[in-house]
Amino acid sequence: MSATTEARRQVPAAILSPVEKILINRLQQGLPLVRRPYAAVAEELNLNEQQVLDSIKKLLAEGVLTRFGPMFHAGELGGGLTLAAMRIPDPDFERVAALVNGFDEVAHNYRREHELNMWFVLATETREAIEKTITAIEKITGYPVYNMPKEQEFHVHLHFPV
């Protein structure tokens, strides 16, 4: 099942309390690595620790946050990571998407409006497995895969102010 982006756009934005907004903004920047990190954030923001913990739990339960925890740099874990694209004719798109999504190594897959219309992230436990996976995808789908590994990283900082 693919959730279409149009369908996602219909989901109303969450209604957030002032405290939740402050916390979402602060917690995207990273927790201090100290013994009682939630208490440390609470003190910074003039809240109490229980408010911080309860708010994170509520935001996770409501799906406003998809995750709260360490963000790993996949490349530094010794595994392989790449972005790859394919050019799939419309009538064949669903079939190929199902085949590509069937690979555990495919972490994200997006349809995008371009001649190259399928874009996915491959994450593998070893660097060598990237090439193998790409070859396997080409073989099972019958279409070429354009591998676009990062050559330089200039910035990664996902931050959505609310």
Partner: protein, 168 residues
Amino acid sequence: MSTSTSPSETSITELDRKLILATQAGLPLVSDPWAELGRQLNLSAEHVLARFQALQEAGVIRRVAAVPDHYRLGYRYNGMTVWDVNDDRITELGTAVGELPFVSHCYRRPRHLPYWSFNLFAMVHGTTREAVEDKASQIRAVLGDACQQHTILYSSAILKKTGLRLRR
């Protein structure tokens, strides 16, 4: 369980792997999450915290943070802006684009001529399509005459989103 890992080492060890497995779904939401992880892994809270600090210092962990569903925050449009930038200026200009506060990811990637001539990728998000286009025009201004062409690829469907996971 026995482990000889010292908290100051920065290469990925068997202990790190256990810490990653124990936290890839999330950090425990309790007052002292390090003590909670320590209980699960038979380590002291100090040891767990020191290892997290070392991993963050080494860049294995970027940070311990909240990941919002950007749609729920009202950011409904994600645009992958892609740019054909002169190779001899890409380091300087990629750095400048990466410093724009609204650019969430910025990478240099290889071209695949003739289908793909873009070598700089900058991801931007907006509450409207116009907001994404306005941000792209600010990137255009930074790149100036070193950029031959660009386009914006909007996502029209999320086909899969499971995130990065180690296998157990």
